[in-house]
């Protein structure tokens, strides 16, 4: 059994310091790892990243995260990632990590993702250079996410993004902004590997639950959606049962 705590869109700045900490201190009792689905900060500054590291750092469980669009606002995303890495957190962008938890190998592949829309209503790389760049950005990120997922050898594989891979978890958002909230290309990447769970944020007015076309469970863990410090998801329950039967 592996228990995964997850949240996104916490938008930490100095006015948030201390709000999450009491719940985070309880993490070792309820989860083996914490995944954060981007938008760690308000404006993506180094000072805000330091606030995030103070609030979410020094925990008794590993912390793995991706950045979100807010974390890019000040064009300091590399410095932000550096602060978080220095604080002992794992920052993923088209990359993956394998953690050994309770004797199982949890693989997490992550990328920020980007927009573009979903089947039947998606952007195409056609026309103006800006449009081609927009779609090309999503294609490149999705390609890296898919490669990271497929190259990760683990007992349970989780995809972590900021943008959504499916429209179902956007229900509640205005339809007009779906193309800015996610892309079907992320789902295609997730479905290209034996992914057990996909987590994302970004859609504050969205819905928690969805599935990719390939059947992978998707959870929108944006803080305003889950309305608590984090959600906890349990993987590999069957393997634990089998062990108990064998014993």
């Amino acid at each position: 059994m592996i228990r995964i705590a997850a949240v996104g869109d916490v938008h930490v700045d100095k006015d948030v310091l201390g709000r999450y900490r009491p719940a985070l201190e309880q993490l070792p009792e309820v989860a083996d790892v914490l995944l954060v689905a981007g938008d760690l900060t308000r404006h993506g500054t180094v000072a805000e990243a330091e606030c995030f590291a103070t609030e979410f750092g020094g925990l008794a469980v590993p912390v793995v995260l991706v950045l979100g669009n807010h974390d890019h606002q000040s064009d300091q995303q590399d410095e932000v990632a550096g602060v978080l890495t220095q604080a002992g957190m794992t920052v993923l962008e088209g990359s993956s990590v394998v953690l050994t938890l309770n004797g199982h190998r949890l693989g997490v592949a992550g990328a920020k993702g980007f927009g573009g829309g979903f089947a039947g209503a998606c952007a195409s790389a056609f026309g103006e250079r800006e449009m081609k760049n927009f779609v090309g950005m999503t294609e490149a990120i999705a390609d890296k996410l898919g490669a990271a997922l497929r190259s990760t050898d683990s007992d349970a594989l989780v995809a972590l993004t900021h943008y959504s891979p499916v429209p179902e978890t956007l229900a509640g958002e205005p339809l007009e902004i779906y193309p800015f909230l996610g892309s079907y290309l992320l789902a295609r990447a997730i479905d290209s590997a034996p992914t057990a769970l996909a987590l994302h944020g970004h859609a504050h007015h969205g819905t928690e639950r969805g599935r990719t076309p390939g059947g992978v469970p998707v959870r929108n863990v944006a803080h305003p959606v889950i309305k608590q410090a984090y959600n906890v998801y349990q993987l590999l329950s069957d393997e634990v049962d089998a062990d108990l039967v064998a014993a």
């Binding site: 709000r19 009491p22 807010h70 769970l197 803080h223 309305k227 410090a229």
Partner: protein, 76 residues
């Protein structure tokens, strides 16, 4: 006006909120959604009231709770 407010809330460096809804109800503009602190909610309402002093603003913005969860979802 709703579009101007949306852009102001997102692009103003002291706010930077994308999750605030703006709804017109008769002569009142209702601001909705949730933010991470009371300071942010108060700043949003102050900025909008200051930008549109002749418009009646109802600030219905909540603060997202941050308590620990009480249950676990098994993924299968």
């Amino acid at each position: 006006m709703e579009a101007e407010i949306q852009r102001l809330l997102t692009e103003d460096g002291r706010v930077a909120e994308q999750g605030i809804t703006v709804q017109r109800r008769e002569h009142t503009l209702v601001l909705g959604g949730e933010v991470e602190s009371t300071q942010r909610r108060d700043e949003i309402c102050r900025r909008i009231t200051s930008r549109f002093p002749d418009v009646e603003i109802a600030c219905d913005i909540g603060i997202v709770r941050a308590q620990a969860p009480s249950d676990v979802e098994e993924i299968s």
